[in-house]
């Protein structure tokens, strides 16, 4: 716990980390508070104000059904953030543990599971996810496990590689020689060394998951209307975008700022922890 605070403090001391952290926290705050601060009802249709440009009454204008865009934009990230914020830790947890385990035991089990991992990675994410979503529905109870499962698979690889680099170290050999159980070795010797890589990976997974989630909504397989969602709002606004760009550009700005914020945070985290994901990036 103390370490997390230290890391966060160091992340915040970098310009990109500070901006990223600020953006992410702001979005989380909006997602939590928005039901109490929005000016209108998100499904209140008004035939009189269809596609009105931004003015004092509707700061972000209205959409094709006369609904307030500000209200819907503020509410539009809730389901995306909720789903991805739950699914990311699950994905990193199960993928990380399995990866570390495989890195430790190696041998036949490792070979077999890694081939299956390769097979899953060779299929497009959207095909895998759509098959499940079309069959079982697009509720949160389907989306969370689906995202958590498929986004955990690449984590296996990362965790396995990170574990590989420590498995041959003396202290792991010593622990083995002491006759410690595998679980103890994983918990006491491997996990602390792999945790940094997993934290960075988790931050990246979060942004990719958000990308996937909003793309699913955009394609019409994520959040169901009339629940406001950024991806869905962009999709709905596309046909009359030249006439009423505000209906699409505000959700676009919100979604993009969150994703860029997460990425800046991930990069700053990678640099702080010395994990070479940031690839010596200048910002």
């Amino acid at each position: 716990m103390k370490r997390i605070f230290e890391v966060l403090k160091e992340v915040a001391s970098r310009p990109s980390g500070a901006i990223g952290l600020l953006l992410v926290l702001l979005h989380i705050a909006i997602a939590i508070c928005s039901p109490w601060i929005v000016p209108y009802d998100f499904k209140a249709i008004s035939a009189l104000d269809i596609l009105t440009p931004p003015d004092a009454k509707h700061l972000f204008g209205t959409d094709q059904m006369g609904r307030d865009v500000l209200t819907r934009t503020l509410l539009g990230g809730r389901e995306a953030i909720l789903v991805t914020a739950i699914a990311t830790p699950i994905a990193v947890f199960w993928g990380g543990l399995l990866g570390i385990y495989l890195g430790l035991v190696g041998g036949r089990r490792d070979d077999v599971i890694m081939r299956i991992v390769d097979a899953f990675l060779s299929l497009p994410w959207i095909l895998k996810m759509l098959l499940l979503i079309v069959t079982f529905g697009n509720g949160i109870h389907v989306l969370i496990p689906t995202l958590a499962f498929f986004y955990g698979i690449p984590v296996i690889r990362i965790a396995r590689a990170a574990a590989h680099s420590v498995v041959a170290r003396d202290y792991v050999l010593a622990a083995r020689a002491r006759g410690q159980k595998r679980l103890t070795i994983i918990r006491r010797e491997l996990l602390p060394n792999v945790l940094d890589a997993l934290m960075v990976e988790g931050a990246m997974r979060w942004s990719w998951m958000l990308l996937a989630f909003s793309s699913l909504s955009f394609l019409g397989f994520g959040v169901s209307p009339p629940t406001p969602d950024w991806g869905l709002m962009v999709a709905d606004s596309r046909t009359f975008l030249p006439l009423a760009p505000w209906a699409g550009l505000f959700p676009i700005a919100f979604l993009s700022s969150l994703i860029i914020g997460i990425n800046m945070l991930a990069d700053a985290l990678a640099k702080t922890l010395g994990v070479d994901r940031a690839q010596k990036a200048p910002i």
Partner: protein
Amino acid sequence: MLKLLFRRIFLGGLTVIIVSMIIFGAVEMLPGDACTALLQQDARGETLKQCQEDLGLNRPAVLRYTDWVGGAAKGDFGLTAHRNKKVSDLVGDRVKNSLLLGLCSLALGLPLAFAMGIAAALKRDRWLDLSVSSLAIVAMTIPEFVSATVLILIFSAWLGWLPGIVTASASSPLSAFFPEIILPVVVLSMVMTAHILRTVRSSMLEVLDSDYVRMATLKGVPYSRMIVRHVLPNALLPAINVVALTVAWLLGGVVVIETVFNYPGLGRLMVSAISDRDLGLVQAIALIVSCVYVTVNLSADILSLLANPRLRTSMGRNS
């Protein structure tokens, strides 16, 4: 060396076989089959049984699997759910269109990515590097539907320079796709350029920091000669694998972009196949896409193995 090559190829083949099992198994486990898709509401009782008998769906799964794989190996994936078209014909057109989109994007994006990556690395931490790297982060993190929508708004709706939507149908001749293909190609190459240039840049920096480059500088090798002879060959090799991943992604159907631009490629066919529950078509597309992925990555591995002797010792062990 030869042993290593064969091992790689064997593993690639194994992956494809496992994929075929996963796809077949997944489709088996999902509720519904070809008959329920064909008959819709009428799918019950005698009719359903009769249909399943006609299509051979009541045979054991193992037999149907071997039949399917045997057909697939010959390029025969059977008929679509409505039984009026051959899957291979339907998929063939789409593969051709996806190939066109992918190759155009590569032709635009690859040179751009390498040029920008190399330039950014040579001007490390200066304004050029800063702007290229920031642009790359924006391009690779923003959802594709967002960049596509914004570009359509600017170049098609406001400026009126380019068509914002593809009107050519799936079986149109390739020439019908110009100039409609330009915007989707631009969006795709933006994303791939960002990914590749980041890799090129970081591997360039790694080589520029290395001892042998410092040695060459101390020896007085001219700057341009050092970059061309010592830095580039070593720095560009690691990019092969990223390029391969990008190619696989491009050819595997870029669903979102195809949907935004109404482009008749493999990705949109995949989505409509899943929505229509045309499981035979889904299986065929999944198998093709994963074969492309495996083949492209395998070629990249072999290529870097041939070009870089240092990998020959470690690669065989690590996989």
